[in-house]
Amino acid sequence: MKEKIPDINYFDDLEQAVFNRIEGYKKRQQQRKKIRQTLVVPMLIMLIGLGGWVYFYPSQNKIPSQNEHLTAVNLLESIDVDESDMYAVLQENSQVATSATDDEFLYYLAEDDAVEYDLISSK
């Protein structure tokens, strides 16, 4: 088949178009690199930080530790209150009381000798 050139200057234009496309590609690569540097890296650092915070920060819904319970009992001991108000005071002042159910609360108290189980359970 006899081949006809589409246009007399076409192949020069094609060459130029290829170089323009390469320039465009280079620019896109640079932009991607910039985005990686300015956005992706800080976002990764932020995500890692957030993950760490979530992992290490004590949750409010966490079952109270024995230390927390002891703090509540120490607080109770330091306050001179009527026995009948003891349970209410514990509930008001203790982190344990706010997060744990009554049964859990009594269970934790029963484990510790600082407050007698009978005293609380009699209420």
Partner: protein, 188 residues
Amino acid sequence: MSVEKDHEITQLLATGKKQEAFSLLLKEYKQPVYWLVRKMVIVHEDTDDVVQEVFLKIWINLKKFRGDSKLYTWIYRIAVNETLNFLNKKNKRFFVPIDDYREYQSKIIDNDAFYTDDMIEKRLQKALLTLPPKQKLIFELRYFKNMKYTEIIELLGGSMGSLKASYHHAVKKIQKHLKLEINWDDDE
């Protein structure tokens, strides 16, 4: 496009002069690659897009060229893959049904100045449109470019047996199509 020029390009690449190597490569191969793609795609505007994409890919991968194969084989392989990808994409798009694109290509063959007024040539080109892209490519390379089977295998891969079978099927389909067309004209 010559062995000496290919050697010059590979030498430039070996010394790290990528830009110079690519400029020379583009100068040498822009026309051969254009015609290879054009024969397959038919439509000039689409060919233009594919050819630009081919050279962009060459530029991106030029550092990876180790000289294991001939430069022209490497370039043609990229061009062939890019062309087949383009045609497959066109055929898969549900809003451009395969027949619509073939019809469009057929109209180009009728009207574009690139195709001569020779009726037999036009009929052959239209018959080629009925072939699947890879079969058409094998026919183009073997029939128009007089490439050896071994050279075609370098470009397309596969075995000698399947390549010969594809060429044989292509020839049979073209003959059948041309016979039908000639009978159709006689009836008229």
